[in-house]
Amino acid sequence: MTSKKSQKSLVELRINGETIEVAFAPHKTLLEVLREDLALTGTKHGCELGECGTCAVLVDGLPVLSCLVLGLEAEGREVTTIEGMATAAGLHPLQDAFADLGAAQCGYCSPAFLLVAKELLEVNPSPNRDEIREALSGNLCRCTGYIKIYEAVELAAARMRGEAVEPATESIYGFEV
């Protein structure tokens, strides 16, 4: 495909399993197309420089930074955003685990952490702490101090493997003592 300067192109994108036609100018990043043209605001704007990871989405299953991908480059690829993580059956186990363990405070970093962790668990259902740390090392969180995020990924992984490893009720967020 080719596009002229400033002129919008009509592009067919695959977002969260749906085919969507959308018109946008060639210089728009995937992040901008998702948020501004498709109102999928779950993907967050951060540094815009590749440094914070908060704009991560999955393209053909792999985590990439949507602030450094052109919308046009996504044509013909399968894009998954946080809006596509829950299914009709309910939240993804990672989303449940993040909620249960309070792995989010302001929550701004959570969509990206969840998607990156989802890909990790697809490739490696039993990651150790170092592997989790490495996989998530491109994502910044200014609130949690990361430990709760690692613990939530471990809890989700164990639940997904069908292991009975529920945390103590006191550590479940919202539990009343």
Binding site: K5, P63, V64, L70
Partner: protein, 329 residues
């Protein structure tokens, strides 16, 4: 970002043809450097030629026992490829020490070779003086902050460093860059690919504007696991090297048959130190030998006000990397 035209191409010939027709146009690979620089208008190509659909993603063994890395193979696929992990662990280590997993999923081998300096004055057009961005405008780093700038091979026009980790390993492994231009293919030795700044710091490499990188060819390596990439940085993930060392030793029962040593973060190009390699060849492995090699490697260093620390840091990093590569750690 300034507006631009956009074209997808799916074969090398079309890519070269397209870039030859549009003055100032650029190839788009992973975009992790180019899009970033376009956002702050350091780069303003009138046209982007998206090369991601060209089938240059392969990583294959070559008949001579080396490996050919497709220019569009992702840095993550390269670092994790079984052939690279087994035969060129130095390259895996170097790539994995850089950027973040998401960036490595996007970044390509060709793009990594051509990434531009992280000199903060170059990256921010609010500073008007930068010879690399605007030839003849001066160099803000000379009088400004230059704690992360070059100590070797710099000129009075530019003291920027080349930021790549991958390229430092490629220099030690004596890789060859295969490129295609309007007149066909040619091969550029990695040592000749990146330039010193001299009086033309705006030109980073010897690649012509109308040439496409098609592959990086690795010759067979005798070093295997007797190699180490050591990167010193301000935090353990996600930071560029202050100083890095790629060390590889061909050892035979305690004796060094040959060695390769290249430094990152110290010069405008990956800095191979052949004098130090010569000092190691034919000698018995020992820490004192490594100390001599380190002194030799830095003998021509010309640090400036804020980066004198790099000289000692580089020496110690060389000794440490050789010690680990030689199995003496």
């Amino acid at each position: 970002m300034n507006p631009f035209e956009y074209q997808q191409v799916d074969e090398p010939a079309t890519a070269v043809d397209a870039i030859s027709r549009w003055r100032g146009s650029k190839f788009l690979a992973g975009g992790t450097n180019l899009i970033d620089l376009m956002k702050n208008t350091v780069e303003q190509p009138p046209k982007l030629i998206d090369i991601n659909h060209i089938p240059l993603r392969g990583i294959e063994q070559t008949p001579d026992g080396g490996v050919k890395l497709g220019a569009l193979a992702r840095n993550s696929d390269t670092a994790n490829h079984p052939l690279i992990r087994k035969n060129y662990p130095l390259l895996s280590q170097a790539i994995l020490s850089g950027a973040s997993p998401q960036l490595r999923n996007m970044a390509t081998n060709g793009g990594n070779l051509l990434q531009r300096t992280r000199c903060p004055y170059f990256m921010d057009p609010a500073f008007s003086r930068c010879n690399k961005r605007t030839p003849g405008s001066g160099c803000s780093a000379l009088e400004g902050f230059h704690e992360n700038h070059a100590i070797l091979g710099a000129s009075d026009q530019c003291i920027a460093t080349h930021p790549s980790d991958m390229c430092v390993a490629l220099a030690a492994l004596e890789a060859k860059v295969r490129v295609r231009g309007p007149k066909g293919e040619r091969i550029i030795a990695i040592g000749d690919f990146h330039r010193l700044p001299g009086t033309t710091p705006q030109i980073d490499t010897t690649l012509m504007p109308d040439e496409l990188i098609v592959s990086i060819d690795l010759p067979p390596s005798p070093y295997g696991s007797h190699s180490h990439y050591l990167k010193i940085r301000e935090r353990t993930s996600y930071a560029f090297a202050l100083v890095s060392v790629a060390a590889a030793i061909d050892v035979d029962s305690g004796w060094i048959r040959g060695a390769r040593l290249a430094l990152g973060g110290v010069a405008h190009k990956p800095w191979r130190v052949e004098a130090a390699e010569a000092a190691l060849a034919g000698q018995k492995l020992s820490i004192s030998l490594f100390e001599q090699a380190a002194s030799r490697a830095l003998s021509g260093a010309r640090p400036r006000r804020d980066n004198t620390y790099k000289v000692e840091m580089a020496k110690r990093a060389i000794i440490r990397a050789l010690t680990i590569a030689g199995g003496l750690a």
